[in-house]
Amino acid sequence: MKFGVIVFPGSNCDHDAWFAVNRNLGQPAEFIWHDSATLGDIDAVILPGGFAHGDYLRCGAIAKFSPVMQAVRRFAGDGGPVLGICNGFQILVEAGMLPGALMRNRSLKFICREVRLRTGTLDSPFTAAAGRGQILRMPIAHGEGCYVADEHTLDELESDDRVAFRYVENPNGSMRDIAGILNARRNVLGLMPHPERATEPLMGSSDGLVIFRSMVMAAQLAAPRL
């Protein structure tokens, strides 16, 4: 399974995503520059963490206009899996590919710490390999990760079983402890925590691999290859 890691000028977790997938998961991965209008021959997209265009205006507000985002939108429309991590999640909501918005943390401060996540649904290509309600340890590192949406949207996310992860101890004020959500078609996941930073024992946790392994498993089930 070939992963494409989108690189905006201010992406700074692009190499981490590449390293997690390529070295710790053992799958091929390549970088895709933000002004590319096509994605090439890839099976999954990762929108990595960072500060895409500096994000002085609003996180992801400029990135959504990048040529590559048109390609990502088409890729998702064709059913391809798209994983947005941290800034990637912010870009996905700005681009309207996921509902809601990400606001300043309740503390108004950047927070970097390990958190525990409770897996909310197993019905997605990102969580299929997890256990029911499995607790995953991985870090957060963001200043604007407080997930907000109107009541109707939140109810719908829950009734559609689209809350992929919730914080066990809510670090940033996110509504209903939401850490990650799926789109209606369940092939786009945005989450604030960093699974790529939890992919080997030296990082302090390997729990993030559950997400990447799920993606590989789902791809194999969808299109068995020799």
């Binding site: 000028p9 201010g10 700074n12 977790c13 190499h15 981490d16 390293f19 997690a20 963490g49 960072g50 500060f51 265009h53 500096g54 994000d55 002085y56 401060k109 950047f110 927070i111 970097c112 710490r113 870090p139 590192a141 200043g143 960093h194 790529e196 930073r197 024992p201 030296l202 990082m203």
Partner: protein, 741 residues
């Protein structure tokens, strides 16, 4: 536009003495014009020229078997093995951080990062050594809290966006930093050995290319500001502080590293202090060449800038590079890809002069070497450093019980957890952080060569105030001990020397003694100084800071699971490597106990036996390398009791029962700060003892880990007993509580 005439008043405003002015006239063979005067004033400022300290800095050891590049470049470089090198350096941004804490600290980070990637190295770690005035002072507490919040937010803003993890450092509070906070930033990067770049202008006729942000009027005279004392008017110098743009710096990093790969770049230097002036004349001086630039070609943010303003601007996120003639386009193409300006503004010449033109007319012409390297050199008079009283004042209140004293120390801002600060830093980005904030030393793996590098910053103004020479030696010893405790072999160092006004003989004496102490210790521990920074005139309204030399040591180790300070398992033997140590009334006056419990300071710093220290460090490295230490933590501020308490604060909440047979009184036993001691827990005490014996080091079997809190006794008497959750709550909550008050 006509530039002002150069009058004696104008010369004085530029902080140049009459003798310095005469020297300038001698070099030029005529009087300088206003622009030239400005150029000389920044290059010959204390900040850029080290005119008061250079004579003494020569005493520092700078060579070692792993040193690839010593002082004189943008950063020092050592060989990290496998064809890779690490570049590292520390720099101060004290003055700007007082005037404008957020931008001052942010641009401090930006400046040191450029120093690293200028050398061709990608930054992988930042550490900060911070000093503030007391947070709870009735008069200045509010301001000090605001400065701390601003500095921390500035560091976070810049480092997080740039994408470099901030993985450690120190944060200390003393009244002497009230009007003069210290912000020292250390950065470290990795490069391939054959891809190191130097700041030299070579090849007559090669183009000089300006890249990065446009030049504005910000930061004019920043270097001179950093070379003067503070007065009431200093706040008006806010416009002298530059504004940082970490996103732009990130673009500059990626573009520079990518452009370096083209092979078309001959030399490169960042525009830091003294901006375009410094980068042009220093590159020319190092290359033995001249540089001619046309200011009309310099990208400008504002209109109507004078040559004086353009040459002295300290606008951030700019670089100057020399490319191979005919290959400019290859370089420009890379910068364009990253959306950055890259403009040829001049060329390398043969005449050794910095020639600045505007509208085709020469507006400044100065020989590079004289300007960059022949700044005045002062052997400033130095007498004796001021001394504190040698005996403890007799009117101390009775000592509180030991448990209360320990809790007070754990809650004191110097010792308590700095989590509130470091959780605002992304300390993991790039996934190389093996041990981050809160550890004795930070450990970063180098993915490229499979090795790891450990690093730590240390300084102790209290010790150095009492005895600058001994204090500096203790700082080096402790910094090396921090590295050894995590299993790393210290190999090289960088220093940041923060002092008051060197024109005062007693302050100059502090500087001289501290440098000499540092030199002796660095020579002994074989950690040559590969670069650093001197920050003088740290005074406000005539009140100087304590002498605060900060040392950053780097060490190498094999990549693997780190040995951390917290106890992991109940039932392990606990060994105090180095034994209980020595202390007397005089040395107790330097401790955190004297500071926190008695609000006092007297006597002398702890006695350091360098030979013993070296053996203790060799022993712990061998113990860690053999996998025998389940935890290890060196004793420092607050002594044995604080170290033992810190070891109990792991996720597992494992405590310890320690018992001693010591002649020391209980305060001294628990809280003295004698060096050369490390507390470890182990499942193999006999093997640890055997290794220690081989190094001639005492391995005192002091107790056993257990799930029942912390208890310490001496000669059959319990000195203190405390539950772990209480230690935890006080240690973790103290800083935030002080900041909220």
């Amino acid at each position: 536009m006509t530039s002002p005439a150069v009058t004696p008043e104008i010369v004085a405003q530029h902080q140049l003495t009459e003798a310095e002015f005469r020297k300038i006239v001698g070099i030029l063979g005529r009087e300088p014009n206003h622009t030239e005067l400005g150029i000389f004033s920044v290059m010959w400022s204390e900040h850029c020229s080290y005119k008061s300290s250079r004579l003494h800095l020569k005493k520092l050891p700078t060579r070692g078997k792993l040193v690839v590049q010593g002082p004189g470049e943008n950063a020092g470089i050592i060989d990290a093995g496998g064809g890779y090198v690490i570049a590292f350096k520390i720099e101060s941004h004290n003055h700007p951080s007082f005037i404008e804490p957020f931008q001052g600290a942010a641009t401090g980070v930006g400046g040191i990062l450029r120093d690293i990637f200028t050398m061709g190295a990608r930054p992988i770690a930042v550490l900060d050594s911070l000093r503030f005035g007391p947070l709870d002072d009735p008069q200045s507490g509010r301001r000090n809290r605001r400065i701390l919040q601003g500095v921390v937010a500035g560091i976070a803003h810049y480092g997080n966006c740039f994408g470099v993890p901030t993985v450690g450092g120190e944060c200390v509070f003393e009244a002497c930093y009230d009007g003069n906070p210290l912000v020292n930033v250390f950065a470290l990067g990795v490069a391939k050995k054959e891809d190191i770049f130097y700041a030299r202008a070579a090849g007559i006729g090669n183009p000089v290319i300006y890249v990065g942000a446009k030049t504005g009027r910000d930061g004019i005279h920043g270097a001179s500001m950093a070379s003067a004392e503070f007065t009431e008017e200093s706040k008006q110098k806010r416009p002298n502080v530059q504004v940082g743009d970490p996103f732009l710096e990130k673009l500059l990093l990626e573009a520079c590293l990518e452009a370096m790969q083209t092979g078309a770049i001959v030399g490169i230097q960042d525009m830091g202090a003294a901006g375009l002036t410094c980068s042009t004349c220093e590159m020319g001086s190092r290359g033995g060449t001249g540089i001619e630039i046309e200011l009309d070609l310099v990208p400008q943010r504002e209109t109507g800038m004078t040559p004086y303003e353009i040459m002295l601007s300290e606008s951030q996120e700019r670089m100057l590079l020399v490319a191979e003639r005919g290959r400019e386009e290859e370089v420009v193409r890379v910068f364009r890809k990253w959306g950055l300006d890259a403009v040829t503004v001049g060329q390398v010449t043969a005449d050794g002069k910095l020639r600045v033109k505007q509208h085709g007319r020469v507006v400044a012409e100065i020989p590079n070497r004289e300007l960059a390297d022949e700044a005045p050199l002062y052997d400033r008079p130095h007498t004796e450093p001021p001394r504190a009283p040698q005996r403890p004042p007799v009117n101390h209140p009775p000592a509180p019980d030991s448990a209360a004293a320990l809790l007070a120390l754990l809650a004191s801002p110097d010792i308590c957890s700095k989590r509130y600060i470091w959780e605002q830093y992304d300390y993991q980005v790039r996934t190389n952080t093996i041990a981050g904030p809160g550890a004795d030393a930070a450990i970063m793996r180098i993915k490229e060569n499979g090795a790891s590098v450990a690093m730590s910053l240390d300084g102790n103004g209290r010790y150095c105030y009492l005895d600058p020479r001994a204090g500096a030696m203790l700082a080096v010893a402790e910094c090396c001990r921090n590295l050894s405790t995590v299993g790393a072999e210290p190999v090289a160092a960088t220093n940041c020397l923060n002092f008051g006004n060197p024109e005062r003989p007693e302050i100059m004496a502090q500087l001289v003694e501290a440098i000499e102490g540092m030199a002796e210790a660095c020579r002994f521990f074989e950690t040559p100084i590969t670069g650093g920074n001197v920050s003088l005139y740290n005074e406000t309204l005539g009140e100087g800071i304590w002498p605060t030399p900060v040392i950053g040591v780097v060490g190498l180790l094999k990549t693997g699971a780190p040995v951390t300070r917290e106890f992991k398992t109940a039932g392990r033997a606990v060994i105090l490597l180095g034994g209980v140590g020595r202390c007397d009334e005089t040395q107790f006056g330097a401790t955190q106990y004297a500071k926190t419990i008695w609000h006092d300071l007297w006597g002398a710093p702890p006695a350091l036996d360098m030979d013993l220290e070296k053996r203790v460090q060799a022993a712990i490295r061998e113990i860690v390398a053999a996998g025998l230490a389940e935890s290890a933590h060196d004793l420092s501020d607050g002594g044995l009791a604080v170290a033992a308490a810190e070891c109990c604060l792991g996720r597992e909440g494992v405590g310890v029962a320690l018992h001693f047979e010591s002649d020391l009184c209980s305060e001294h036993l628990l809280f003295h700060e004698g060096p050369s001691r490390i507390l470890i827990s182990t499942g193999s005490p006999d093997r640890v003892t055997e290794i220690a014996a081989r190094h001639g080091v005492e391995a005192l079997r002091a107790g056993i880990t257990m799930n029942a809190g912390l208890s310490i006794g001496n000669r059959g008497t319990a000195l203190l007993t405390l539950p772990v959750d209480k230690l935890h709550a006080i240690y973790e909550g103290a800083l935030e509580e002080q900041l909220r008050s």
